[in-house]
């Protein structure tokens, strides 16, 4: 008699003891952690390469500049991840970023006193846009890709209404705080990045954090398990919109002015970052942590291409190729669940 393995028919394993519990749990944990390990490895490689190629990479100034560039992309990647985890996708996130930034910059108008109001208005705008997306997708049951493409046109138009040309003036307090270095080595953007991650961990511990994964992992199964699927979907888009607005504020703080035309580029970057970070595009697998690291990796690669002495005209191409390679690698690792089209002759 052959040793029955765990994958055999239910009846087959009856005679033999199952493999040790620890082994099974270990294998289970390892397979679940694979993408995380991969993106961590990618981070180590890019940081090491940056340290070698980029003089003074670890200097306080350079760190501040680096984190200031990481933060907007990381934030919008976090926003996209929340939505993708719940099985959606939001192509309007970029326009939400620009709209929120535009609303903020117009309201603050270079005046520190108006900063709190302006920030609140910007965040509220983002959340409202997200809510609209959520209602359109969950309420009207439209396919997320097309629906959010349509709303991106609306939000983009609104951004143009608010701020017809790039410009406006951010409040000095905002831009200065953003450039500060806390405790001699840690720049403010890095602190914000950690705060963002902490907020995600908090959400993850909340019911709705769990429900995001449940809905993305199987909406029907979640529904029969009494998970409020539609509410979770609306929540994911709203939360995504809110976080996207944070990205808008970060962008504003970094550049000091608003720009109504950034839109699509940011959306695309956010999707690339989350995929590299190990989040499955179909939903239910991944996390914001990975997306943050993915965004950092993307930014670092962009810097690397610059510092590696690639000719100006070839930079974009090289960058594009590296991204495709990174995505393909991440795809190979996250595609564990995707089987061949035929799993014929499975258990009856």
């Amino acid at each position: 008699m052959t040793t029955p393995s765990r994958t055999e028919a239910p009846g087959a394993a009856a005679g033999a003891p199952p493999p040790p519990l620890l082994l099974r749990a270990g294998r289970s944990a390892l397979s679940a952690r694979m993408p995380t390990l991969a993106v961590a490895a990618l981070l180590v490689v890019t940081v090491a390469a940056s340290a070698v190629l980029q003089p003074n990479f670890f200097s306080a100034y350079s760190m501040t500049a680096s984190f200031a560039t990481f933060l907007p992309l990381a934030t919008i990647a976090a926003a996209q991840t929340i939505i993708v985890l719940a099985g959606g996708i939001d192509l309007s996130l970029g326009t939400i970023v620009t709209l929120a930034a535009a609303v903020s910059v117009v309201l603050m108008d270079g005046d520190d006193a108006r900063l709190p109001l302006a920030l609140a208005a910007g965040l509220a705008t983002g959340a409202a846009c997200g809510l609209v997306n959520g209602l359109v997708v969950a309420g009207l049951r439209l396919q997320p890709i097309v629906a959010t493409f349509a709303t991106s046109s609306v939000f983009g138009g609104a951004a143009l209404l608010v701020l017809p040309q790039p410009g406006g003036e951010a409040s000095p307090a905002l831009t200065e705080t953003f450039r500060m270095v806390v405790a001699l080595y840690v720049p403010v953007p890095a602190v914000l990045l950690v705060l963002l991650w902490a907020a995600w961990r908090l959400l993850r511990r909340h019911r709705f954090g769990q429900y995001l994964y449940a809905v993305g992992g199987g909406a029907d199964a979640a529904y029969t398990s009494a998970v409020p699927v539609s509410a979770v979907r609306v929540f994911s888009y709203t939360a995504g919109g809110l976080v996207a607005a944070l990205a808008g504020v970060a962008l504003l703080a970094d550049s000091g002015a608003g720009d109504p035309t950034l839109g699509t580029e940011l959306t695309l970057g956010s999707i690339a970052a989350l995929v590299i970070g190990g989040t499955r595009l179909r939903g239910g697998v991944g996390g914001v942590g990975g997306a943050l690291v993915g965004a950092v990796v993307l930014s670092l690669i962009q810097g690397l291409v610059f510092f590696a002495g690639v000719p100006t005209d070839a930079r974009e191409f090289v960058y594009g190729c590296i991204i495709i390679a990174a995505i393909a690698l991440a795809g190979l690792l996250t595609a564990r669940g995707a089987r061949r089209p035929a799993h014929a002759g499975g258990p009856r």
Partner: protein, 592 residues
């Protein structure tokens, strides 16, 4: 009775598009009972219980629980009312740990956050109670995706129990369970009954009904037919009710249908069945004046191995129907998939007409002359949203195309019509989506689409699963026709009776190996059952649940009469001596 029943559903109606699933069904059940809901597939029993759990919105009718009207907007509401269900199609999140799955939707919270310790405290006792079903371990932190189907089903049951239901719905919950798992489940169900929980139980296994259930309601065509007390109802009557109430007399109007039903219900002693009761005469009799054994084998398989298939060898002659028997999930499906190139072959040779063939994809297999009817019609056999015409044409569409590409609609329609007529498919228009057809007619398309490719080897994985008796008989007439045309047919079936009726020889598989070959006079259901469970004699006595339910438990198989605490009347081995009044419960839905 003055007090209103604990649960009452009345006048429930539901239509899906043009198909009526429930036509005014009434249902009543009392707390503290195990109530079986029986009926052939498509009788609406699953839909009825989904209305109860709020997953399906009924078009009409009302549900009263303890006299209060239940108007659920979804499963959340019914769950709050104390109704929780174990569904046929699983509702686990694959990527979640077992523990997370158990408390999904009812997570305990502290300070607004999920309290994992409380969750563990709430869910772990149930997992521990079912530990014997997990081979003695408590898989709380394993991913649901890493469990095998039976274990997942147990998790599913635990999940329903964690919600502390007053009404527990078990929809075919035992179908994928091992014997030990069923034992634990039945013990727990008994405890719940003591506590006053109403358990609604859907199953096709007669033994389970006899062992567990107090009352039984039989459904047919979307309405309830009868409600009986299990203990007071003769087993035979139950069987008739379960099998769709088809009178067990030969029907003269539908030809083969009658013989199929008659063969099933024949009171003749096992083994003494004549060829007249079969769908088709055996190949031995069919071959005109010659020993068929003399004919060259059309398909020869030597030492074939692969995932779940371990060194299988056999031969099939032209015109022969070879059955693959044994308990379900012993590699029958995998064997066919490997032959068809849909699964990887790790060793062995396959000879077709004496020449070795090694298809690495279904495309190559089709070219070599194979045809394959997969076990899951909706997921593997049909593109449900596409028109009937395209589904018919799919395997052979390239053959009729001019220059390999250009199709003529007239030619396609003619080809599809020809096949449809041959196999008796009923349809409105060839342009309608296949999903508008009934299960039986859909299955005919899955088989019929292969006719134009003129296959020499036809692999059929449970082609009669989930279709009614009449369609089943027609299906086997098609099998007979294929064989008569000189094809070699390899047929897997979850119902031993089907194998006896249709096959010339049956290979009994166990753990991917051929453990027995049954043919000629030995080819009876009893031999098959005995053989699949590694027992020599016949044990299928009246009221003996173990053998008839064919629960896979090879370890205990040598002494099934000892009983395993499931409460069935201890079977007398002597029952084998007398004529068996009822060989096996009719099982139109298959065991899957």
């Amino acid at each position: 009775m003055d007090t209103p029943p604990f649960l009452r559903m009345s006048g429930v109606r539901k239509r899906y598009g043009g198909v009526t699933a429930l036509a005014g069904a009434d249902f009543e059940a009392e707390a503290g009972t195990v109530h079986a809901v029986l009926g052939p597939n498509g009788s609406g029993k699953s839909t009825l219980l989904k209305v109860l759990t709020g997953v399906v919105a009924p078009d009409a009718g009302e549900v009263l629980l303890e006299g209060r009207r239940l108007r659920p907007r979804g499963p959340r509401d019914t769950l709050a009312a104390g109704v929780s269900a174990v569904y046929q199609e699983l509702s686990l999140i694959e990527e979640f740990s077992v523990l997370d799955n158990l408390v999904l939707g009812v997570e305990p919270t502290r300070f607004g956050l999920r309290d994992t310790r409380a969750a563990r405290a709430r869910a772990l006792p149930w997992l521990e109670r079912f530990a014997p079903a997990f081979g003695g371990r408590v898989p709380a932190d394993e991913r649901a995706a890493d469990l095998d189907p039976g274990e997942r089903q147990i998790v599913e049951i635990c999940k329903a129990l964690v919600r502390e239901p007053r009404v527990l719905v078990l929809d075919e919950a035992t179908a994928s369970l091992r014997r030990a798992q069923v034992d634990v489940l039945f013990e727990v169900v008994g405890e719940l009954r003591e506590r006053g929980v109403l358990i609604l139980f859907i199953t096709h296994r007669l033994a389970e009904i006899l062992a567990l259930c107090d009352r039984a309601t039989v459904m047919r065509n979307g309405a309830d037919v009868a409600t009986v007390t299990v203990g007071e109802t003769p087993e035979r009557e139950l069987v008739e009710l379960m099998s769709g109430g088809t009178p067990r007399t030969p029907e003269t109007d539908t030809g083969t249908t009658g013989t199929a039903a008659a063969g099933a219900g024949s009171a003749a002693p096992a083994g003494a069945r004549t060829d007249a009761s079969r769908v088709r005469p055996r190949a031995a009799a069919a071959a005109p004046g010659g020993e068929p054994a003399a004919a060259e084998p059309l398909l020869e398989v030597r030492d074939l191995s692969g995932d779940r298939v371990d060194g299988v060898s056999f031969q099939v002659r032209p015109g022969e129907v070879l059955g693959l028997g044994g308990l379900q999930g012993q590699g029958q499906s995998e064997l066919m998939a490997i032959l068809f190139g849909a699964r990887r072959r790790s060793g062995g040779t396959v000879l077709l007409n004496g020449r070795p063939v090694h298809p690495r994809s279904p495309k190559q297999a089709v070219r070599a002359g194979f045809a394959y009817v997969p076990g899951n019609r909706g997921a593997q056999g049909l593109a449900l949203g596409r028109p009937i015409l395209e589904n018919f044409a799919l395997p052979s569409v390239g053959r009729r195309a001019g220059l390999g590409v250009a199709l003529s609609r007239r030619r396609e329609i003619a080809a599809a019509r020809a096949v449809a007529e041959r196999i008796g498919t009923r349809y409105g228009s060839l342009d309608d989506p296949v999903s508008t057809l009934s299960g039986g007619n859909q299955q005919k398309i899955v088989v019929g689409k292969w006719f134009p490719t003129e296959p020499v080897v036809v692999l059929m994985d449970d082609p009669a699963k989930g279709i009614d008796l009449r369609a089943k008989a027609e299906m086997f007439a098609v099998v007979a026709e294929l064989a008569a045309a000189g094809a070699a047919v390899v047929l897997g079936a979850s119902d031993d009776r089907e194998l006896v009726e249709v096959c010339d020889r049956v290979l009994v598989l166990f753990e991917g190996r051929v453990v027995d070959e049954v043919s000629g006079d030995r080819l009876t259901e009893d031999t098959l059952i005995a053989s699949s469970m590694h027992i020599a004699g016949r044990d299928t006595g009246t009221g003996h649940p173990e053998a008839t339910s064919a629960l896979p438990e090879p370890d205990r198989a040598p002494a099934p009469a000892a009983g395993t605490g499931t409460g069935g009347p201890a079977g007398a081995p002597g029952a084998a001596d007398g004529p068996a009044p009822e060989p096996a419960p009719s099982d139109p839905g298959g065991r899957a």
